[in-house]
Symmetry: C2
Subunit: 299 residues, 2 copies
């Protein structure tokens, strides 16, 4: 107990990288190089956790499964994860990025976490968007949360956040920060409001708010065989509001925020009587739909 | 099949009423009168579904359980529900409003739905905010959805929407519109953004969006023994965006929206391959937390 505020227990500079990768085998090397050039800039600026978009090395709009297969690689033994491991070791940072994963004959839309000690883990996108269903297999690894020296990190990919169950499950498992890797595309209009934010911005903000978790959301920009992407990358605080600005729809940019990652473990200061997780009414949610979640009796 | 667009199957003019009730037994009659005066104005303007705030007849800030008990009444046999039934019959409308319910020695923070044919049903607030826990009993009726001639109506109350499980469960049971009755109070700052919306506005918008359901959210304004209320009432479309404006923080007002309630039953036009409910990954959500929800295998 001191008079001064406690110093951060787990200070981090989080960076989300918004750029414009292009699909096509001839572009993969340039995509990977551009991502790491921007990540290097972020690391030199002091970032300790860096987040790249979904499918950051391959681009998004595959023509068919055969082309997706050609773009995919093994995790963690493929060249992209190896390059990311080297980067993280060299700069002493954690890095999250999306790539196309091949596992035998199956393809997954995967996010990988690497750190200064190498590969930490992967998450395979559970909710596939549109034609992704024609080449990727739905994720089969649940919603893992990874313990790291800087805090507990959960991963989700794009359309996942349309399912409030996903950030909820990550938070219930103790995630301090969710790295959200995205290729947010056009959704039915209106797309942007007068603030320049899109509905995905609000999904990110409200998921952070109701789960008392940081969310660092990296999206891509540009167009890729006609698909248009929305930008709007942001870093949401545990109160839901963006820390700093929400990125524009067309700019290549790096957003950063200085946060104490494990501050997410303190309940928000609502009042003396409420707690977001303890207040869940599992007793009501679950019997109705055949759930059997044994927690949260009325108080 | 016609060349013209199909006419609305279940057209409604939804009105949410934002006003300033005051706690204290001496104020209850005036609160009730003011609510129905505004509801009458809405009905004369063509409203067919009218939503009042939480605890609309009693005000909010009870001193203790004894005072809450004095303010509470039986449902559906107490005077407030009787008055609402008469109003609904006279004007041929559906009306939702919040009141303090007494059932034996128990008190509930309850929302009631009445229609032209009388009392339809009640919902008891499941997630109690702050000192409400000291006088009310947590709701024990689950999250009912009521079939009416104008569509399926779900009810939720204030802090409930901080739990994404609630609008999800209402939507999964087929709710076309959720009537959200509120006494949204101060939450940790920032409270309003540059649009004048508060986090509760965004919780309403994103819950409507991810569940493809209308949400008509009525909040109160003013102060009540020092508690400050936020206004920000709104009617969210199934795409999540407000239909019309979001109410200010200080104004007594009526917002209206003309909607085809059962249009919520059509899946949103995302693309040929996605559907918000079908895409849920119950197979992943549920084993992790001991759920046993048998649905949504990977496709």
């Amino acid at each position: 107990m001191t008079d001064a505020a406690d110093p951060p227990v787990s200070p981090a500079r989080v960076a989300v990288i918004q750029f414009d990768p292009q699909v096509g085998l001839d572009n993969c090397a340039a995509n990977a190089d551009r991502a790491l050039a921007l990540a290097t800039r972020a690391a030199r600026d002091g970032a300790t956790l860096i987040v790249l978009p979904e499918l950051s090395t391959t681009g998004y709009s595959f023509r068919d499964r055969a082309e997706a297969y050609e773009h995919a690689e093994e995790v963690p033994d493929g060249p992209t994860v190896k390059a990311w491991e080297s980067f993280a070791r060299e700069h002493g940072v954690h890095l999250v990025g999306g790539l196309a994963e091949r596992d035998g004959v199956r393809l997954y839309d995967t996010a990988v976490l690497v750190g200064p000690g190498g590969y930490v883990g992967r998450y395979r996108k559970a909710h596939l968007w549109n034609r992704e269903k024609l080449w990727f297999t739905p994720g089969d690894l649940g919603f893992p949360v990874f313990e790291t020296p800087i805090g507990r990190i959960g991963l989700l990919i794009c359309w996942d956040i349309w399912f409030p169950e996903v950030p909820r499950l990550l938070a219930q498992q103790g995630a301090d920060i969710i790295c959200s890797v995205n290729n947010w595309v056009w959704t039915p209009p209106p797309i942007f409001d007068e603030t320049g934010r899109c509905m995905a911005s609000y999904l990110t903000m409200t998921a952070a708010h109701v789960n008392n978790v940081f969310i660092a959301a990296a999206n891509r920009v540009g167009t890729d065989r006609g698909a248009r992407f929305l930008g709007c990358s942001l870093i949401a605080g545990t109160n839901g509001w963006p820390i700093g600005r929400v990125a524009g729809a067309d700019e290549e940019t790096i957003l950063t925020a200085d946060i104490d990652i494990v501050s997410a473990r303190s309940a928000p200061i609502w009042n003396q009587l409420n707690d977001l997780i303890r207040d869940r009414r599992g007793d009501l949610y679950d019997p109705m739909l055949g759930y059997t979640l044994g927690q949260s009796a009325p108080r």
